[in-house]
C-alpha cells in the first residue's frame, strides 16, 4: 500500500445554520479544504452522512454534492455508519489513495439536522440503534448511554462530578474554538443541575443537534510532496470495527468493543501504542462516552477514565489532552461530519495552527469516531512529517 497524508482541511462554523441547505454547508467546507490544500484537481470523493434521507429528504448525496462542488463527472461515494460515517469516509479515501486508484481524494462529512421539527431529530437518530429490538420499544440514545453510565458508576464508582468534569473541560476548550457551536463555559454544578434527560445524564451531559460539515484532502505522500506547501500529516494507522448493535447482545455495558478492536488495528498498523499518542479527539456524544472511550483506547485503566477527567489529566495542559476542539459536546455534533471534524482538529494541532487551544509541539494525534451506542468505530492515527 502507498503512504497517504492529509494535505488540507476545511471546516465551517458549526451550529444552527437556518439560512443554509445541506449542499451549501458541504460545499463551503469543501472549498476551504481545497484552498488549504492548494490543489483544485480532485480524482474522487467520499461523503459521510448518516441520514440526509430522514433529515432533509435527500439521498444520492454523492452525486448531488459532486455536482454542487463543480466536480462532476468524478467518482463519488457516500458512506454511512451512523455517527461514524465521517470517520468511515476518511478510511475509504485512505484506501483509494493507498491502492493507487487515485492520487488526490476529497473526504468529507455533512449533516443538516435542524430542518426537522418536533421529535423528528430524535427519530432520525434512533435509526442508528436496533429498530426491531430497541427503537420499537422506545429506546433513544440518551436512554441507551444512561444505561451505560449507571453501570459504569455501579462497577467502578464513577461519580456525578466525573461526568460533569468532561463537559466542563470540553466547554473550556470549545470557548477557544471560533468554529464551535458553543463558546460558553460551564461548571461542575452547572452540568449537574441542568435539566435531566435520562438519569443520570442531564442536558449538559449530551452533545447538541448541529448543522455542519468538514472536509479533508488526502494524497499519496509522493504526490503531496509535489503539490503541497503545508506541513504534511501522514495517516499512520486506520482501524474500523463493528460490535453487536443492540446493547442487550453485548458481554459488557462498560466496554465499547468496536473501539477496542478498531484501535487495536490502528495501533498495529501505525506501530504505535497508547503511550505514543500525544493527544486525541474522541467521540463524546455523551460525557460517559468520553470516559469509556479514553479507557478503551488504552489511555487509562478501565474504571479510571472519570478520575482522569476530574484530575485534569485530559485538559489542554494535562498529560493526555482529549478533545482540544471542544469535542462533540461543545464544538457540536453534526453526526455525519463529526469524524472528519476530528481529523481537521488533529491536523490543525499537528501543524501548530490551533490558535488559543494550541498544544506544545504535538507529534502524534489520534481520532476515534463511533456509531450509535458504539456498534461501529473508526480510529485514525496521524503524525506530522
Amino acid at each position: 500500500m502507498r503512504e497517504v497524508c492529509v494535505i488540507g482541511v476545511g471546516m465551517n462554523k458549526w451550529g444552527e445554520l437556518w439560512g443554509k441547505s445541506i449542499r451549501d454547508i458541504f460545499v463551503e467546507s469543501a472549498l476551504l479544504a481545497i484552498k488549504d490544500a492548494g490543489v483544485d484537481k480532485i480524482d474522487s470523493m467520499y461523503v459521510g452522512c448518516m441520514t440526509s434521507g430522514l433529515f432533509v429528504g435527500q439521498e444520492h448525496l454523492a452525486s448531488l454534492l459532486a455536482d454542487y462542488l463543480g466536480k462532476v463527472p468524478i467518482p463519488s461515494t457516500r458512506v454511512e455508519s451512523a455517527c461514524a460515517s465521517g470517520g468511515l469516509a476518511v478510511r475509504c479515501g485512505f484506501i483509494e489513495v493507498a491502492s493507487g486508484m487515485s492520487d488526490v481524494v476529497l473526504v468529507g462529512g455533512v449533516e443538516k439536522m435542524t430542518d426537522v421539527s418536533g421529535d423528528g431529530a430524535t427519530y432520525a437518530l434512533a435509526t442508528a440503534a436496533d429498530q426491531e429490538y430497541e427503537v420499537f420499544h422506545g429506546a433513544t440514545f440518551p436512554g441507551l448511554y444512561a444505561l451505560m453510565a449507571k453501570r459504569h458508576m455501579h462497577e467502578f464508582g464513577t461519580t456525578r462530578d466525573m461526568l460533569s468534569a468532561v463537559a466542563v473541560k470540553n466547554h473550556d476548550n470549545g470557548s477557544k474554538n471560533p468554529l464551535a457551536q458553543f463558546q460558553s463555559k460551564t461548571t461542575l454544578e452547572g452540568v449537574a443541575k441542568a435539566v435531566m434527560v435520562a438519569d443520570p445524564l442531564t442536558l449538559m451531559d449530551c452533545s447538541p443537534i448541529t448543522d455542519g460539515a468538514a472536509c479533508a484532502i488526502l494524497a499519496s505522500v509522493d504526490k503531496a510532496k509535489e503539490i503541497s506547501k503545508n506541513p504534511l500529516v501522514k495517516i499512520l494507522g486506520v482501524g474500523n470495527a463493528t460490535d453487536r448493535i443492540a446493547l442487550h447482545s453485548r458481554k459488557s455495558l462498560t466496554t465499547l468493543n468496536a473501539t477496542v478492536e478498531a484501535s487495536k488495528r490502528a495501533y498495529e498498523m501505525a506501530g504505535k501504542s497508547p503511550k505514543d499518542i500525544d493527544f486525541a479527539e474522541v467521540h463524546d456524544c455523551f460525557t460517559i462516552a468520553e470516559i469509556m472511550v479514553t479507557e478503551d483506547l488504552g489511555f487509562f485503566e478501565k474504571g479510571k477514565g472519570g478520575h482522569a477527567a476530574l484530575e485534569g489529566k485530559t485538559a489542554l495542559d494535562g498529560e493526555k489532552p482529549i478533545n482540544t476542539s471542544g469535542g462533540l459536546k461543545s464544538k457540536g455534533h453534526p453526526v455525519g461530519a463529526t469524524g472528519v471534524g476530528q481529523i481537521a482538529e488533529v491536523v490543525k494541532q499537528l501543524r501548530g495552527e490551533a490558535g488559543e487551544r494550541q498544544l506544545k509541539n504535538p507529534k502524534v494525534g489520534l481520532t476515534q469516531n463511533m456509531g450509535g451506542s458504539g456498534g461501529s468505530a473508526v480510529v485514525h492515527i496521524l503524525e506530522v512529517m
Copy 2:
C-alpha cells in the same frame, strides 16, 4: 494494484417478501455467497443500500448486518448512491482488495421496499432526485424518465414498439430465471396497453418495487487460487462517474453522461472496447433507460438502441445479449441490491451456470448500474480466467 476476482455469488428469490425483514434477506444471500465461495473467513464487508432509513427506519446497516451475519468485529461499511448503491459497494470492495488492506471482502446489496404503505415508496425513491429543484415541485422517477423517453422519440424516431420490445425481451429472459420476481411473459401489445403511468411509459415500461439482496465474495487472485474451487472471474475494469443530478442542468436529455464516463474508465482499465463485450446486465429501471444505456455504453449508435431491441439484437440469441437475468424489469429492482445482482448474473453466465438462459461460452461480461435519473453510474467488466 493487486488483481481481484469474484470467487462466490449469492442471491435469494426476489419479490414481495412480506415474511422477512431486511436483516433476514441480507443474511440469506450472504450465506449463499459464502457457501458458493467455499470460504468462511471474511476480512471486511461493504453493503449497498439506498434508503433503509426511509423504508424500514433502520440506518447503521453496516454493523447491524455484520452482527446478524455473525461477523462482528470485522470492518463494515454501508455505501449509498441511490439505485447504484450495490455497484458502488462492489467498487469499494474491489479497491480494498486491490490495495492489499484485505484479502477477502464480502460485497452485498439489500433493499426492503414493501414495508412502507401508501405513497411511501414513491417518496423514498424520489429522494434520489434533486429535492429542492425536482421533488419539491412534484417530480417522480416515472415522470423524469418519461421526459427522456419523449425527447428520445422526438430526436431519433424511437417508437412505442421499441420501448415495448425491451420489456418483452426482459420478461422472456426472466421467465427462465427462477429467482426473478416475475416469471410471466408479455407481448408488444400487452406493454402498450398496460395502464399509463407517465406518458409514454405504461406500467409495463417500469421496473417493480422489490424486496431482495445479493452478495459476492471478492478476493485477490493469489488468495483465490489458494482457496477457491470455482472458475475464477476476474474484475478487469471498474468505472464510477457522476452527472448533474437535476435533469434541467444537463446538456442533453438523451445521453446519460455518468454512464458514458464510467464506461470510459472501465474500458480503459480493462483494455477492452464495446465490441469485446459478449453480454451485459444494464440498468433498465424503465424501458427507455435500457435503450439509452446500450447506446451510451457504445454497443449501438446513438438513436439505434430501440431498433436493436426491436430487431432482436439484444435477445439471448442476439449479437449482444442484454439483461439475460430478466433485468430490473422482470428480475425485480430492490434498489440497493440491483448492482450486486447484476454481478451475480454475469458470474453465473461466465461460469456456465445460468440454466435455461445460459449463453454459449461467454468470456467477457459487463454490468452497468445507475443512480436516480442517471446522476451516478458504476460499470464493471468481468472475464472468466
